[in-house]
Each structure stands twice: as C-alpha cells, then as structure tokens.
C-alpha cells in the first residue's frame, strides 16, 4: 500500500469520534442506550483501527509525515495550519488514547447503564457518550497536532471535556454543588496552567517566528546560544502548563476533586490519557529541555516532589477513588521526573504502562463501587459506596474484579514481571545513574505506593465485610468485566514493550526523539525496587489484615499520630489555597466591585453630575419668581455694561 495515502488517513482519528458524537447528538436519545453506546464505542474503535494502520505504515517509513488539512490563522508572518503530524511519538499516543479509550467506552456501556439509574436521570446516558467522544476527538487533536497552537486546541478541549464530565452529575455532590465546584476548580486550575503555556507560545512565536514543531525545534540550539534567558522562560512557562494539566505541584489540587466524575471518566481522563498530556508535551519539546539544564532540574524536582507528596496523602485516604487519584498524581510525578532527567523514553514507557494498569484499577474500582451499590438496600443512604471503611471481603462476591484489581495493584506496586516493574525500574535506573537525590525520593515514593496499594487491597477485598452493602455486593456483567480482563492482560504484558536489552519502544521513538541512550538495566536498582515493593505490600498486609474494631479506625492513626492527621487531611493544601489565593481573590474582587467601582469610579461621573446640580441649585436661587428682582438684575447688567463702555 502507498504509505503516503495511508498517512492521509490521520485526520480521521479526529473525525471519527466527531462523527460519532454528531450521530449521538442527533439520534442518540431516539434510539436508546445500546445505540448510543455502540456508536460511540465504534467511533473510538475505528479511530483505534486507523491508529493501528498508521502505526503499521509508520513501521516502513519511521521518519513520519505532516498531513496538512487546511489553513487556520494567516496574518502577515503568522501562519498556523490545521495539520496533523504522524510520527512515532504521536502514533504511540494515538494508540494509547484510542486503545484504552475504546475499552473504557465498552466498559461505560455497562457502567453508565447502572450509573444513570443510580443517580436518577436516565436521559443523560447519551450525553455521557457525546462528551466521551468529544474528549477522544480533543485528545487526538492534542497528540496529532503539528504545531503548538493546534495542540493547544486539543489541550483546552480535553480540559473542557474534563470539566463537563467531572460535572456530569452537576446537581450532586456536597451540598448539591460539590460536583460543579469540582468541575470549575479543575477547569480554572487548568487555565492557570494554560496561561503558562500561552506565554510560552508567545515567546516561541516572537523568537522563532513559527509554531510548527519542526521549524521551532530546528532553531532551538541557535536561539539557546543567542538568548539563554528566553529559553529558560519558555521551558519554565511550559512547565507551568504541565503542572496544571498533569496535576503536579502546585496545581495538582483539582485532580482528587475530579473524582466526582463517573468512574470511567476517572479512568480515561484523569488517569490514562488527559493527565499525561503534560508528559507528552514535555517529551515532544524535549529538544528544548535538553538545552536548558536549569529547567531540567526544576522539572525533575517538581516531578519527584509530587511523586512523594501525593504518595503520602494516598496512604491515609478512605475513598477508594481518592487513593487512586493521589496515586495517579504520584505516578505522573514519576513520569515528569523521568522527562526532567532526560529519560524521555522511560517517561513515555511509564505513561503507557500506567495507562494500562491505572485505567484498569479505576475501572475495577468502578466495578467494586457498583457492586457495593447493588448490595445497598433500597433507600439506604447511609452507606457511601466509595468508602473503603465500609467494604471488606469483597474478594468472595466479586472474584473477577478481585483478580484484575490484584494484577493492577501489583503492576502499580512494581512487582516483576508486571508492566509497572519495568517502566518504573527504568525511571529509577535513570535516576540512579545521574541524580542520587531524585533516586532516594522516588524510591521512597515507590515504597509508599506499594504500601498504600497493599492497604487498599486488604481493606477492600480481604477480611470481613464491614457493612451490609459490602456483604451483598455482586459481580458485574461481562460488558464491564471484559475490558477489565483485557486491561489486566495488558498490565501483565505491557513490560514487553521496552524490555531491557531489546528496547523496542526506545528504537521506535528514536525516530522522533532522536537517539536517547537507554539506561542500562542495573540489577541492583531492580533488586532495590522489587524489595521495596514487596516490603511495602507486606507491611500493608501486616498492618491492615489484623482484626479491626467497628467502626473502622485506621491502625496507622495510633502509630503515626499527628503525621497521619496531616496525611488524612491532605496536608491542608486546599485550605491553604483557600486562605492564600481564593479568599483574598474574592475579597479583592469584592473590593474592586463595591468600594472601587461603585464607590469611586461610578462617582466620578456622579460627582460631576452632583457638581452641576449644586451649581444649578445656587443659580436657581436667583430665579426667585419676583419680577422686580429680575428688573434689578437687568439694571445691574445695564450699569455694568455702561460702566465698561465708559472705562474703555
């Protein structure tokens, strides 16, 4: 097959989901649930097929191509096109997005069927799939863009979908507004990041005169030599964008709240794909970061700090999805740190495996949640189906879910030979050779990862049921469990992608990223990481499998005391932001709105009016209605005029 023609298929990865959502928008409600779900899944599935075809074509022509579609903005020297880029990096992302995306679509057919009934608005079933397809389209734009600006379209587009899906049950949540608040928070936190990205893009255009990747990156070295400060600014502003989208310190706060969205959303957007966009961006812009060592060290320390910080919080959470959310932040920290160290391939590798096992974990958690929901008595509002303290022993009722969850948890913990072991090990190995400080932080984070996953496994699946609902939980249907099994398979085998010694992924990506010296497989590092993982899991097992009183009290609470309280309360970061940013902003806005705008600026005009009125009041007194006074005034004027005439 002529590969040029094949590459021209690339716009369809965007068009197919758009077609899917259009069909659902127009006919979805008419033809019912199974129609909507099938159309959406089919659209995403076909996008996956296209991605596979592209990947096959790319295997023969690994240098990749750019497929222009249309001009977008043309002003003077500014030319931005709608153009798609097919290279090894973008196709990998496309495969992950559409592959995992398809599985999650299929899963959602079953999950949302229950979810819309549980939340009492069946009409929203179609809307969910419309949003989901919109997300796939936006994500595809993001990863397939040939220039920064088009990528930004996808970048904000996925942010919008994230907003819409977090707020999917917009009338639910704390006080009825909790979910919509969470959605708003996510969008605004992302916008703060986007601000950074926008500034970075302005700097890029002003200095490079283009937004296209090839044109920009080819000049990077020359510009760095010329204006090192500019490059530092670009990379750091870009990092701000990354911290927003990929939930790094200090902008990570939106991600835990984002768990308000339905679980497939958490899996797809807030674990597997969207949040990795930042990592993708930095990998794509690796040519920049390589040139600015200072920026690199900032990036890696941000990543490492996030990895550890989020892991500590994950240890003390009770909400099954919150644990996974903080875990996601932590793992994203690993990826960012990897890219910061220049180990872009390791970062991408971890991105892919993380998409598998974290997607799996979230979906399985969703299965658990719905199992518990099914176990709830009708009208039972006391049980929170996401609270791990009210679970326990679910292994028996939901065997399939248990096994896939176990696989996911082990993969995340980094147990050989599952996917997470290899990818995490590559990052640790990279740190071992170059950045000992980072290595220690990341190793600690890895240990805690294993610990909280052990804790979660025990609390959810082992021991005795701690609530009626948990006792009555039932296994999910095949449409839900099948994607779980496929993902579990991927989580087991994902490590094959970049086995030490073979480095398949590295060789695949080097066409785009250039030759990256793969970190040598260090037996010592692998050993340390494996031991840490086992130690963490074991410790979790030991602490939590002991008999626990009712209601459940975390055994760590006694052992760690105030430290645990801190972790439990997420180190009060939300409260800190509220006190330092949110409330001052509100107060300042209020100050501007009332004392300044109404009190001062509005009064400028009002003051002029009042001055005129006062003057008029004064003059009005002269017009007293007495004809004789008017006569007198006339006489006064006459005298004055005559006097003036005489004096001249």
């Amino acid at each position: 097959m002529e590969s040029g023609l094949t590459f021209n298929l690339v716009p369809w990865v965007v068009f197919l989901p758009l077609i899917g959502l259009s069909i659902n928008l127009l006919f979805g409600r008419k033809f019912g649930e199974s129609f909507s779900g099938t159309v959406a899944s089919l659209a995403t599935g076909l996008a996956f097929v296209v991605s596979v075809i592209l990947a096959v074509a790319l295997a023969n022509h690994p240098e990749g191509v750019t497929v222009p579609l249309a001009d977008w903005i043309t002003i003077g020297s500014l030319t931005v096109r709608w153009a798609f880029r097919v290279d090894t990096l973008s196709v990998v992302m496309m495969l992950v997005v559409s592959g995992v995306g398809t599985l999650i679509h299929i899963y959602s057919i079953g999950y949302m069927h229950n979810d819309v009934r549980h939340n009492g608005d069946e009409g929203r079933y179609t809307r969910f799939f419309v949003f989901l397809n919109l997300f796939i389209a936006a994500m595809m734009i993001l990863v397939s863009a040939d220039n920064f600006l088009m990528m930004f379209v996808g970048w904000e587009g996925v942010g919008l979908c994230s907003y819409l899906l977090i707020g999917f049950w917009f009338e639910k949540g704390k006080n009825g507004t909790g979910n919509s608040e969470a959605a708003k928070k996510a969008f605004i936190a992302n916008r703060i990041g986007d601000f950074g990205l926008l500034i970075a893009m302005f700097l890029i255009f002003v200095n490079f005169g283009s937004f296209e990747f090839d044109a920009v990156f080819s000049q990077a070295a020359a510009i760095t030599a010329d204006k090192p400060g500019v490059m530092l600014a670009i990379t750091l502003f870009m990092l701000l964008g990354v911290t927003g989208k990929s939930a790094q310190l200090p902008l990570y706060v939106w991600l835990p709240d984002a768990m308000a969205g339905p679980t497939p959303v958490s899996a797809l957007i807030h674990a597997a794909t969207m949040v990795t966009a930042g990592v993708y961006l930095m990998t794509r812009s690796a040519a920049f970061y390589m040139l600015v060592p200072n920026a690199q060290s900032v990036v890696m320390w941000v990543g490492a700090a996030t990895a550890l910080f989020a892991a500590t919080i994950a240890v003390a959470q009770y909400d099954i999805k919150k644990v996974l959310a903080y875990s996601t932040i932590s793992q994203l920290g690993f990826m960012v740190a990897a890219v910061g160290m220049g180990a872009t391939v390791a970062g991408m590798f971890h991105l892919i495996t993380h998409a598998f096992f974290k997607g799996l974990l979230f979906l399985a958690a969703g299965s658990v949640i719905q199992g518990v929901e099914r176990g709830m008595h009708h009208g039972d509002h006391g049980t929170d189906p996401q609270d791990m303290r009210q679970m326990g022993g679910i292994r028996k009722q939901m065997p399939v879910t248990f096994w896939v969850y176990l696989i996911g948890a082990l993969a995340l913990s980094g147990i050989a030979p599952l996917a997470g072991f290899f990818s995490k090990d590559e990052i640790l190995a990279a740190a071992w050779t170059s950045q000992p400080g980072i290595f220690i932080v990341l190793a600690l984070a890895a240990f805690m990862t294993a610990f909280y996953m052990g804790r979660q496994l025990v609390m959810v699946f082992f021991g005795d049921a701690r609530s009626e609902a948990a006792k009555g939980a039932t296994e999910s249907k095949l449409v839900v469990t099948l994607p779980l099994m496929i993902l579990a398979g991927l989580s087991v085998l994902g490590g094959l992608l970049n086995l030490p010694g073979l480095h398949t992924l590295e060789h695949w990506l080097e066409h785009t990223l250039g030759k990256v010296e793969p970190a040598h497989f260090v037996w010592l590092v692998a050993g340390i990481s494996l031991v840490l993982a086992l130690l963490g899991l074991g410790l979790g097992w030991m602490i939590y499998s002991r008999k626990n009183e009712k209601p459940f009290v975390d055994p760590l609470k006694k052992a760690l005391g105030p430290l645990f309280t801190g972790m439990e309360n997420k180190w009060w970061v939300d409260e800190l932001y509220a006190a330092v940013i949110l409330n001052p902003y509100k107060a300042f806005a209020h100050f501007m709105a009332e004392p300044v705008d109404l009190g001062v600026i509005d009064r400028i005009g009002g003051g002029l009016a009042a001055g005129t009125r006062a003057m008029a009041e004064g003059l009005r007194k002269l017009e007293n209605g007495y004809i004789r006074t008017y006569g007198l005034l006339m006489l006064l004027g006459l005298t004055a005029i005559l006097t003036w005439l005489f004096l001249h």
Binding site: T74, I75, L78, L160, Y163, I188, F195, F202
Partner: protein, 500 residues
Amino acid sequence: MSLNPLLLTIAFPLAGVVVMLLLKAKWKNAIRWTALLTSLVTFGLSLWMLSQFNSASPDLQFEINQAWFSLGGNPIGFHIGVDGISILMVLLTTFLTPLAILSTWKAVDEKVKSFMAFFLLLEVGMLGVFLSLDMVLFYIFWEFTLIPMYFLIGLWGGERRVYAAVKFFLYTMAGSVLMLAGILWIGLQYGSFNLTQLVGSGMIPAAAQLWLFGAFGLAFAIKVPMFPLHSWLPDAHTEAPTAGSVILAGVLLKMGAYGFLRFNLPLFPDASIQFAPWMAGLAVVGIIYGALVAYRQKDVKKLVAYSSISHLGFVVLGIFALNLQGLQGAILQMVNHGLSTGALFLVVGMLYERRHTRLLENFGGLWKVVPVMGTLALITMLSSVGLPGLNGFVGEFTILLGAFGSEAIGSPWFAGVATLGVILAAVYLFHMFQKLFLGPVIHEENQKLKDVSVREILILAPILLLAFWIGLYPKPFFMLMAPAVEKLTTIIQSAALLAQ
C-alpha cells in the same frame, strides 16, 4: 449608473420605517414582521455588497461623494464608502439586527410600533457611522445613534431605566463634544473634512496630533468603554431591553473601537505611536479590572456588562499593538465580542422572559430543567471564555500575540498581564454558568421552566454557527480585512520612520 449597494443598505431600513408609519399601532404582528423583513432584506443587501466587494483591494469601494453644504469654505459631503475593516462591522450590524428584532417578539408588547421604528433608525445610524468618510457626516451619525438608543433604554428598560438612559446619553455626549471640536479644528485648520484626503497626507503636524488624538480618543474611549470611563455601561446594559443590550454590546461598543481604527490611527499616526503604551496600559487595566468586578456581580446582566469591559480591553490592546496580528485580531475580536456577548445577552433575556429576574441567586440547576438551553448557553459561554475552536480564542490569541511582540507597546509585560485575563475570564464565566445552570434546582419556580422554542433556537443558532466558523476557519475573515489593515500599518510605519 448602477445601483450602489451601500446606499441601498443604509437607506432600506428607512424605507421600512416609512412603511411602518403607515401601519396602525395595534397591528402588532404586522409591525413586527415588517421590521423583521426589513432587517433581513438589509442583511441580504449587505451580503450582496459583500459579493461585489473586491477583497484584494485595500481601497475604499462603492464610494459616493455628494456635496452637501460647506463650512469655512470647505465642502462637507454625503461621503460614504466601505473597505475591509468597515465591511465586517456593517455585516455584523445587519446580521445582529434581525436576530435582535426576533428576540423582542414576545418580550416587547407595548408601543411595538415605536420600538421597531427606533430599532430600524438605530440600524441606519450604526451603518452610517461605519460607512461615513466625511468627518462631519460621521459625527452626525455618531450622535444620531444616541437618540433611538436613549429611547430604547428609557422607554422599554428595567426599573432604573431613566437613570440609565440619561447616564448613557450624558457620558457619550460629553466625549463626543470634544470630538466635534477636533473635527472642526481639523476641517478649518487643514482645509478638509474629507477623510480620504486627510489620511496619509501628513498635513497634521505631530504637535497638533497629540491633543487631537486626545479629543477623538476620549469620545471613542467612552464608547468602547475603556477603564475608567466605563461606568455608564453596566447601568445601560442592565436596564436596556434584551434587544437593546444585544445591539449595545454587539455593535454600539464597536463604534468606539472602530473610531480608533478609522480616525486615531490613520489621522494621528505619530500620536498613536506615542500613546500606544498608555492606551495598552489602560486596556490591560480594563481587562483585569472588568474581570475582577464581573466576578462579584449578583445580576447576570451586570456580570456580562463588566465582561464586555474586559473583552473590549483586549480589542484596544490589539489596536494599539499597531501591528498586523494585533490589528487583525482586534477587528476579528470586535466581531467575536458582538457575537458572543450578544448571544450571552440573548440567553439572559430568555431566562428573564421566563423568570422575570436576573439575579444569580434565583437560578441554579437549570441544565436539568432546560437541557437544550443549557447546551446553547454553554457554547455561548465557552465562546466568550475564549475556548480554542470557538471564535473568541482566535481573536484573543492573535491580539495577545500581536501585543506580545509589539514594538509600539514596547514591552511584553502588557500582553503577559493581559493573558491573566484569560484565567479570570474562566473564573467569572464558569462561576456564572455554575450559578445559572449547574447544581441542584433550589427554587420551586424553576422546576417547570420551558425549554427553548424554535424561534429562540433560530435566534441563537446562526450566532453559534458563526462562532464555530470563525473558531475553526477564520481565514476568510482575515483575508477580507488584510489589505485594509496592511494599508493602515503602512501609514503608521511611514510615520514612525519619518519621526526618527
């Protein structure tokens, strides 16, 4: 002689008014249809003008110059013409007017005849402003728009309508009086009121440009409105009837920005360069300030009104970037703001028609009750927020890009701070959307609201389609204005070269 499309476009609404005068006041529907058809035909005529327009030429086209009277020996003519900048404004006017008229179908039931007559007269005035090439004629049309708008606010407005109408009138009047002085000074001192003769002639010395820039600039800055001359806007917007708000935000504010483009930049290029950092500074203050104040409003219309201040700040920033990206972005953003904010006001008007309140606290959870309206409102809000893929982004991005690299402004800090406005826009608009459409339905009255009617979809759909078009493929718009804007930048650049 073939028919002149400009003359037809500008005169046709007048014909509609004449027809309407012959109708009895109680034939309300006949009057409404007359007004709607008139405005639709006017739109059609403007499209015909577009089809005849040569977009490759930077020159003024379809010029008419009919001598009228003379002042100080200098002829004043009925001189109209259109170029790539004004044609967009004309199209925006003729596009929004029928939609605004359609939005009054149910909302205005008293004195329909005079309402519609004023509305069409307003259209004539606005078209006149955008087409005039004679300074005195421009001034006449400029002031003429005040009269119908004054009555639209004062007669069909909300509770404080008289206060708002008077405030609107006085503010605008105060500014334009100085402009009149400037016009007369130029005409008598430099011997022409004809814009085509004055532009690029270099007749006006740099020293005189400074105060003339101020005189014209004040009138335009009030109209835009720029911080701190904006305080007429929230009142006028809030009290005006929906259609009035739409036209006010959609077109009337653009007259200010258009004035900068048509007068200040080409007539006073030296002063423009000199004042560019100051104007940009004020624009940035306006962007941030409007966004901050908008966030704390309790009245939806006020919120949107303050958002206009913020958005128009972007337009002014783009204009005074004095480069291609900034100027073209600003012109596009003028159109964008007309569409987005116009649509926002339409949505608010629809809510008001149903609930007779505009306070945020009286709404909530409406997306569940009126899903279609919720979706339309969401898209409108997103276009206003500047989401890529919709119109607002293209304008804002090009403006900021232009301002960031602008030599005239001289520092990227202006654009940098202005970019913060992008965050703040999300803050107040998402806050608004949440308070209106998300969360639970708290008020019993909101449970049974009716979703949008076909008429209301017909109003919003064209706007939103255009929003997508501009967002995804703005090239035709940029192509249309490019030659005229390039000509403008050439004038400014040559002035800058001369000054060195």
